[in-house]
């Protein structure tokens, strides 16, 4: 894909050599190809438009560097723009989990990966951070959701426990019980795993807001599928409106999707992407890396070495 893009751009710039700076026309033509590439990567249209406008101002008038192909020069500008928009090279990916018990609330659409990510984060915090972690499922809807979380807690080892299941209790009451148990039990971190919900399910969105109100989470993470299409902006915006979100987690980054949703969600919320889910097992979690994701949105190829080559000469 990247090769295809750089070839496509190469064609546009072939007759550019000899002139001093990237002209409006050259850049516009190149950006048309980049627009399509970003759309193919599922970056949401309004975000693509914004981005293209920004890159254009940056690229027009830029001196052409002899030793780099102009197409590559534009790609370098695009790549830098993407990294920037994704939060930059040293984005803040740590969780705020001081003042125990720190509450972390997980929210998102059905099947996005909330429960699995809860298990992954618990494992990481207990192993790397030596934290004592309590997991509570507030999902009273999906069949066996609570059992799923309890099994994951077991797989995490001794310093991770799950709140005993009491059938028939309402989510808000489970949240209160969990807060209590976390305090009494001397836990460092309490995860509240919530049921999946669509952003237009008024009753369920109200429920989520109520849970946040009761639990006052230090972190509220929106867990979303990296394979999401144009809907990413809508979902991110609506959840952001209703919940005190502090960060994003993109799951299924181990797929072959290009992950444009990451850019879309980051752009509409301004929230940091904290983690990437990269597998079904509990160790399948990476901290977010803007450069990696930017390269991937452009189509993997050999972007890093190409960009390095370009930057040496710029």
């Amino acid at each position: 894909m990247f090769d295809a893009l750089s070839e496509r751009l190469g064609g546009i710039f072939d007759n550019l050599t000899g002139r001093g700076a990237l002209s409006d026309k050259d850049v516009s033509e190149a950006l048309r190809e980049i627009r399509v590439a970003l759309l193919e990567a599922d970056v949401a249209l309004p975000v693509v438009k914004d981005f293209i406008a920004k890159v254009k101002t940056r690229a027009v008038g830029e001196e052409v560097i002899r030793s780099v192909k102009p197409g590559q020069q534009v790609i370098k500008i695009v790549y830098d723009g993407l990294v920037d928009m994704l939060g930059g090279e040293d984005a803040d990916t740590s969780l705020r989990i001081d003042s125990p018990p720190a509450v972390v609330m997980m929210a998102g659409l059905q099947g996005s990966g909330k429960t699995t990510t809860t298990g992954k984060l618990a494992k990481r915090l207990s192993e790397k951070g030596r934290k004592k972690v309590l997991l509570a499922s507030l999902d009273v809807r999906r069949p066996a959701a609570m059992e799923q979380l309890a099994i994951l807690a077991d797989q995490c080892g001794d310093s991770v426990s799950s709140l005993p299941i009491i059938q028939g209790q309402l989510p808000a009451d489970i949240a209160r019980r969990a807060l209590n148990a976390a305090k009494i039990g001397g836990y460092d971190v309490l995860f509240l795993d919530t049921a999946g919900r669509t952003s237009i399910d008024e009753q369920m969105m109200t429920e989520a807001a109520e849970i946040a109100e009761i639990a006052q989470p230090q972190e509220t993470l929106l867990v979303a599928d990296a394979l999401t299409g144009q809907d990413a902006v809508e979902t991110a915006r609506r959840f952001h409106e209703r919940l005190p979100l502090t960060g994003l987690v993109l799951t299924r980054m181990d797929g072959d999707g290009r992950g444009g949703a990451a850019l879309s969600m980051r752009a509409v919320t301004g929230l940091p992407i904290k983690f990437l889910g990269v597998g079904e097992k509990l160790d399948g979690l990476d901290t977010f890396d803007a450069q990696r994701v930017a390269g991937r949105i452009l189509g993997q190829g050999d972007i890093v070495s190409l960009v390095e080559k370009a930057s040496e000469q710029m």
Partner: protein, 293 residues
């Protein structure tokens, strides 16, 4: 579904105006924003303009024309299926990426079958994910249909083999097999699925009679690669699109319908047993552009 889609809002903003290049470009953008993909969006918009270019056109007219363009693409894929019919035991395999809605869709179909009085068996072929077996068991209990399972970690193909033997011995009408979610680029997991299909064929060369790929309506262009891979590996025979009750309207299905001759059987519109509808090209297209909402 209420006109909450971006396409709907965008169209409302267009108002009444001449169908010129600018308007067409905006229409194209709106289609892109509904996951049709850049190429398909361009083609649908161009088709729309053929007879109407440079004419004054109102919002409702644009909507209806778009819906009809899209419906033309989807119509040949509309195919209602009754799993309780045909060969017995009819063996139906559900496949798809993680979290797309396979288990829930089986639960919904099982609930319907019970009403129809079919003798069915559910098979908990997801022997990997935590509580996947318990989840399917709850659905089986709700529908009053038995669920066959083995402990987590067991070989899925082995379980499927035993289930089909049992279905034959007991003269059941139908076997619905759940599988673990898997991303289509994972060779090892896809090979595992291939093995399940192979084992089924050993017992009945005409089976699986249906291989249903379950797609999530929120998915973007990656759905095309999902269809391609699962078709190659498992011989997909039909599609279900779930989560149509959210803000995403599953526009990538239009691109899939153009590229693949695969029937679309059902859409999922919620988490309850009754939240499954036969796919209708017309209703889907209208929902996508916000007509009659």
């Amino acid at each position: 579904s209420r006109s909450s889609s971006r396409l709907t809002e965008g169209l409302a903003a267009l108002g009444r105006r001449k169908l010129d290049d600018d308007t067409l470009e905006e229409l194209e953008d709106l289609l892109i924003a509904s996951d049709l993909g850049a190429k398909v969006a361009a083609r649908v918009a161009t088709n729309l303009s053929k007879e109407r270019f440079d004419k004054e056109i109102g919002e409702e007219e644009i909507r209806l024309a778009l819906a009809s363009e899209i419906s033309d693409v989807l119509k040949p894929r509309e195919k209602i299926v009754d799993f309780s019919d045909g060969t017995s035991p009819r063996i139906v395999l559900f496949v798809g990426v993680n979290g797309s809605g396979k288990t829930t869709t089986i639960g919904k179909i099982a609930s319907k079958l019970k009403e129809q009085g079919a003798k069915a068996l559910l098979v908990a072929g997801d022997t990997f994910r935590a509580a996947a077996i318990e989840q399917l068991t709850v659905w089986g209990d709700r529908a009053g249909i038995p669920v066959m399972s083995k402990p987590t970690g067991a070989d899925a193909a082995g379980l499927v083999y035993e289930a089909i033997e049992k279905a034959k011995a007991e003269d059941l009408d139908l076997v619905l097999i759940d599988t673990a979610g898997r991303l289509q680029n994972k060779a090892e997991l896809m090979a595992e699925l291939e093995k399940v299909v192979r084992v089924i064929k050993k017992l009945d060369p005409t089976a699986p009679h249906d291989v249903i790929l379950v797609l999530d309506a929120t998915v973007g262009q990656n759905a095309l690669s999902q269809v391609e891979a699962f078709r190659n590996t498992a011989g997909v025979t039909g599609l279900v699109m779930t989560k149509m009750d959210g803000t995403a309207k599953g526009g990538v299905l239009v691109a899939i319908a153009e590229a693949y001759d695969l029937p679309i059987h059902f859409i999922g519109i919620g988490e309850k047993a009754e939240d499954l509808r036969p796919f209708s090209a017309e209703a889907f297209s209208k929902a996508l552009v916000g007509v009659g909402a």
